[in-house]
């Protein structure tokens, strides 16, 4: 049994899938509605009817948890799409053209880098109407920088390779070279980065929602649930503990995936 667990631990993809699968299976089996209010059932502890108890409006915590976790993963992927595309384009253009284009783009990147972490997202989310779309946009605004830097360095390294020169000599246009020669060869580190981006975006989304400038009630978000739950810490500690553990588990497994992926891909790079 223990060795099976140990093996599972070595396959983080499996672990992540496991966590998501548990959430999905419970979601299917547990056909609850995250918005049904039952005021006679406020803050009830876990029971057979409500596997994880209810929140301050008598809503089933488990269904809210699942809807919140789904939203969290959704936000993570959307932010990745936005940040990944912007960042990769900026980085590849910067690295490929070099010269003043590189100089200009890197200064812009530096400016974004001078804002620590979620500060710029907080600023943006605070100033726009609080909803999921703006949260994704705010986090994308902040997340593209790391992609840009990574893509730039990688492109600059790949640019010097002989196969690029060979392609150039045989008359392949620059655009095609970038698309079919550069991009596939810089993909590995970008994929690793994107796993960490999803994890980071999930944490940041929860943070924004916790501050009240992210996803708004009644929609369930892990951060917003923590915010609401913190008010009833004394009476119903499970309202705080459960969403936090779920978020932590998701982020933790994603980070594990990223770490293992990095080891694998780095090894592949070294063997080249």
């Amino acid at each position: 049994m223990l060795s099976a667990f140990a093996k599972m631990f070595r396959m983080p993809w499996f672990l992540f899938a496991f966590v998501v699968a548990i959430l999905m299976v419970t979601a299917v089996v547990w056909k609850g509605d995250p918005y049904t209010i039952a005021l006679d059932n406020m803050l009830s502890p876990p029971s057979a009817d409500y596997l994880l108890g209810t929140d301050e409006l008598g809503r089933d915590l488990l269904t809210r948890l699942m809807s919140g976790a789904t939203l969290s993963v959704y936000v993570g992927f959307c932010v990745l799409m936005l940040a990944g595309v912007i960042g990769t384009v900026v980085g590849v253009v910067s690295g490929w053209f070099g010269g003043w284009v590189d100089m200009l783009l890197m200064r812009v990147t530096d400016i974004f880098l001078s804002f620590p972490g979620v500060l710029i997202a907080i600023c943006f989310a605070a100033l726009t109407a609080p909803d999921v779309k703006n949260v994704i946009f705010a986090l994308g605004l902040m997340g593209w920088v790391s992609f840009a830097r990574l893509a730039r360095v990688q492109t600059m390294a790949v640019k010097k390779q002989e196969y690029i020169q060979a392609a150039r000599l045989s008359g392949v246009s620059g655009f095609v070279i970038v698309l079919f020669y550069v991009l596939p060869n810089i993909a590995a580190p970008l994929i690793v980065e994107s796993v960490f981006t999803i994890a980071g975006a999930m944490l940041s989304e929860a943070g924004l929602s916790f501050l009240g400038i992210g996803v708004q009630p009644p929609e369930a978000s892990l951060g917003a649930m923590l915010r609401e739950g913190a008010r009833y810490m004394l009476m119903a500690p499970h309202l705080v503990v459960v969403p936090g553990v779920t978020l932590m588990l998701l982020v933790f497994t994603l980070n594990l995936v990223g770490d293992k992926l990095r080891d694998k891909l780095d090894k592949a790079n070294l063997q080249k």
Binding site: I111, S114, F115, L226, V245, N255
Partner: protein, 344 residues
């Protein structure tokens, strides 16, 4: 013979000493000049970046939809009042003129005044900053106290269960959001055991929970970094030499590896000090800590644009300053960097 007299030898060795001192001074001069050149170059870079940060913040605040006048006066305000307010806030001017005024004010450290209280934003920040600085300082202390033993422990037992345990722990800590850890700590230590105050900053022990919460994620990251850098220096030639000379493993790690492994830690501490200000926003919100973070959260709730803008700018500038300091300290410690071999 006079040259055999002891006095002559003394004089001669004195000359040699002088030569040595002169040579030493020359080396120092070269080093200091290189260092100065690096510092000046690095300092000059900060101006375009700072201008970019200011521009970005300004346009972010002014371009996004949302009418501050409506926020202040409410939807049913009289047109006369609206007009007066628009003019007093300078919102009727073209955006570029507003930007010019904004930059001019910034140059004399004027961040504008709050929509609500009417107090200058700079004053509000100055009032709240000590609490946040105190919190961040104690958090860094906590983080170091936890991270250094953990990192060393993991590195010394590389690839054994201790190492895995430490790594797993640090990954868990890294995934643990402060707005979860904070409430859980409150539940355990303040509500259940009733050892520490729940929130606020009235008693000296109030600092413990917030500082631990804030420092926890940082300790995870620092421990990982220390482990990596310690492993690197443990595999280096000078540690091998020390071991070959007969030093015990522990002694070699203590005397030679550890000192050099601390180098990257210095930069991280500076960088983290800047990042902690952002982390403090969430932690302060959890513990109602009366610092800069609570100021921002309060301003967010009231849509107090000048205060938000001022605080964001202030934090960005502190962060920039910390990055600058970390670069400089690193250049001071690590001579390779200042000669321009920045690659890797």
């Amino acid at each position: 013979m006079h040259w055999m007299q002891p006095k002559f030898y003394v004089n001669c060795s004195f000359v040699i000493l002088l030569c040595k001192v002169a040579k030493f001074l020359k080396i120092i001069k070269v080093c200091v000049l290189a260092l100065l050149a690096f510092f000046v170059k690095r300092l000059l870079w900060i101006f375009p970046t700072a201008f970019g940060v200011v521009t970005l913040t300004f346009f972010l605040v002014h371009i996004v939809p949302g009418d501050p006048v409506e926020v202040i006066l409410g939807e049913h305000a009289l047109p006369v009042d609206r007009k007066r307010l628009v003019e007093s806030l300078g919102l009727h001017l073209p955006l570029l003129t507003q930007f010019k005024v904004f930059v001019q004010q910034l140059l004399v450290f004027d961040l504008g005044t709050s929509f609500y209280s009417g107090t200058p934003v700079m004053e509000m920040i100055a009032m709240r900053l000590p609490a946040t600085a105190y919190l961040a300082g104690v958090a860094i202390l906590f983080a170091m106290v936890m991270a250094v033993p953990l990192g060393v422990w993991a590195a010394v037992h590389q690839n054994k269960w201790q190492d895995r345990l430490a790594l797993t722990f640090s990954m868990l800590a890294f995934a643990m959001p402060s707005f979860w850890l904070g409430p859980v700590l409150i539940i355990i230590f303040a509500l259940y055991f009733q050892l520490l105050p729940v929130s606020g900053n009235e008693h000296w022990s109030s600092i413990i929970l917030p500082a631990f919460t804030l420092g926890f994620a940082m300790s995870a990251m620092t421990a990982r970094l220390l482990r990596t850098s310690l492993l690197e220096s443990m595999a280096s030639d000078y540690v091998k030499t020390a071991r070959a000379k007969g030093l015990s493993f522990n002694r070699a790690v203590q005397r030679h590896a550890f000192k050099n492994a601390l180098l990257p830690l210095v930069t991280v501490v500076f960088l983290q000090a800047g990042a902690l200000l952002t982390g403090a926003i969430l932690t302060e919100a959890v513990f109602s800590w009366p610092g800069l973070g609570s100021l921002i959260v309060e301003a967010l709730g009231k849509r107090d644009y000048p205060t938000i803008q001022g605080c964001v700018l202030f934090i960005a500038f502190v962060y920039m300053l910390m990055t600058l300091l970390s670069d400089m300290v690193y250049a001071l410690i690590d001579p390779r960097l200042r000669y321009g071999k920045e690659g890797v």
